[in-house]
């Protein structure tokens, strides 16, 4: 009961993120940009999962780095880390919904001619 009260109080006060945090995130984003450009200059190979199904590592790495950068921006620049739980839930629900819609659309398109190539 009291714990919940503390949580509520915590959510009510406005958290001010310090410039030091912003600078660290800024630095991390620049490092991420350098890494992803660097990675694009190397052929990172591919993984033949099954006949006709190949996973190229270059796009996987590029998207993984982009997603890491996105998380840093969302959590710190957009203050989600310091936001009320309602905001956290909303943002998470939005991303999951996005992944479901894109994922289901892609599974449809990518499997229409399955095994016929």
């Amino acid at each position: 009961m009291s714990e919940q009260h503390v949580q509520e109080q915590h959510e009510q006060e406005h958290h001010i993120v310090s410039p030091v945090t912003y600078m660290i995130i800024f630095g991390a984003l620049l490092v991420g940009t350098a890494l992803t450009v660097l990675a694009s200059y190397f052929d990172l190979g591919e993984w033949h999962i099954a006949p006709g199904l190949t996973l190229f590592w270059n796009p996987v790495v590029a998207l993984a780095i982009a997603t890491t950068k996105m998380m840093l921006v969302v959590l710190f620049f957009m203050h989600v880390k310091y936001s009320p739980r309602l905001t956290k839930l909303t943002v998470a629900a939005g991303f999951i919904m996005f992944l479901v819609l894109v994922g289901m659309t892609l599974t449809d398109y990518f499997t229409r001619a399955w095994g016929r190539w």
């Binding site: 959510e11 009510q12 006060e13 406005h14 001010i16 993120v17 310090s18 410039p19 912003y22 600078m23 995130i25 800024f26 984003l29 620049l30 940009t33 992803t36 450009v37 990675a39 694009s40 200059y41 190397f42 052929d43 990172l44 190229f56 270059n58 796009p59 590029a62 998207l63 780095i65 982009a66 950068k69 996105m70 921006v73 969302v74 710190f76 620049f77 957009m78 203050h79 936001s83 009320p84 309602l86 905001t87 909303t90 943002v91 939005g94 991303f95 919904m97 996005f98 819609l101 894109v102 659309t105 892609l106 398109y109 990518f110």
Partner: protein
């Protein structure tokens, strides 16, 4: 007792709370008002995610269907300009975050400086985008009646790109599909740039308001929520950069 007196008496008995002038009457506290508007801004951003998500999905499907034309077409983009623009946009996100901090700390001067820096970075981004688009215009790579497949059916006619990638010529049929890449390229970077233009318009408005001290009274909602929009546009670019420029080098 008439209704009017009843309301008047009611208003008297329920004493008027002390609250800052920017707190609307239908909110209990400033904190509640902040959270509610913040929540609404996030809902708007979710619709934006779905909007750009449609474009990204179209790109992924098309790239899967017409893999080679998409790879060859994306070799036309210069990684140098893409990287420069990514750095510029991340820097503008940083200065925007610092603007929010300045507003929270009620520092009018530093708020103005950071907002102006954000504006300069935003304009720089659009300038670089303009250079890139102009190059596409010169090479007839803008989809439409004047589109040319020259660089793809005969890669050696485009020596600058050829010496870096040594792309094999595409058949005229396949080369035609590069137009779809550029259609999506312009649709995605164009929609992104439109968001930047809108953001820059709001930034100019904010700079005038900040000058008269509108955001340094403790009322940071507008700056904070605009910051969310600006960072969202930054995130879209992070993905555009990865998908349009980087993943097709190999």
């Amino acid at each position: 007792m008439s209704d009017n007196t009843a309301i008047a008496n009611g208003a008297q008995t329920e004493a008027h709370h002390e609250h800052p002038p920017y707190q609307r009457h239908h909110f209990e506290t400033v904190g509640q008002q902040f959270d509610a508007t913040n929540f609404a801004m996030w809902l708007f951003l979710l619709t934006e995610i779905m909007f750009f998500g449609g474009l990204f999905t179209a790109y992924l499907i098309m790239r899967n269907w017409y893999y080679q034309p998409f790879v060859d077409a994306s070799h036309q983009l210069q990684i140098f300009w893409g990287t420069a623009n990514t750095v510029v946009l991340i820097a503008s996100s940083f200065t925007m975050a610092m603007s929010v901090w300045s507003a929270e700390m009620r520092r009018r001067k530093s708020l103005l400086i950071y907002l102006c820096l954000t504006l300069v970075f935003g304009l720089t981004f659009l300038g670089i985008k303009g250079i890139e688009w102009h190059e596409k215009w010169e090479k007839h790579h803008i989809p439409g009646a004047h589109y040319s497949v020259q660089s793809f059916v005969n890669p050696q006619s485009d020596p600058e790109v050829y010496k870096e990638y040594k792309d094999a010529p595409l058949s005229p049929d396949a080369a035609q599909k590069t137009e779809e890449y550029f259609f999506l390229y312009f649709a995605m970077t164009g929609m992104h740039a439109l968001h930047m233009v809108i953001g820059i318009g709001i930034l100019v408005f904010m700079i005038f308001r900040a000058k008269v001290g509108a955001y340094t009274t403790g009322h940071v909602t507008f700056v904070e929520n605009f910051g969310l929009y600006w960072h969202f546009v930054d995130i879209v670019w992070i993905y555009l950069f990865a998908l349009l420029y980087l993943i097709s080098r190999h």
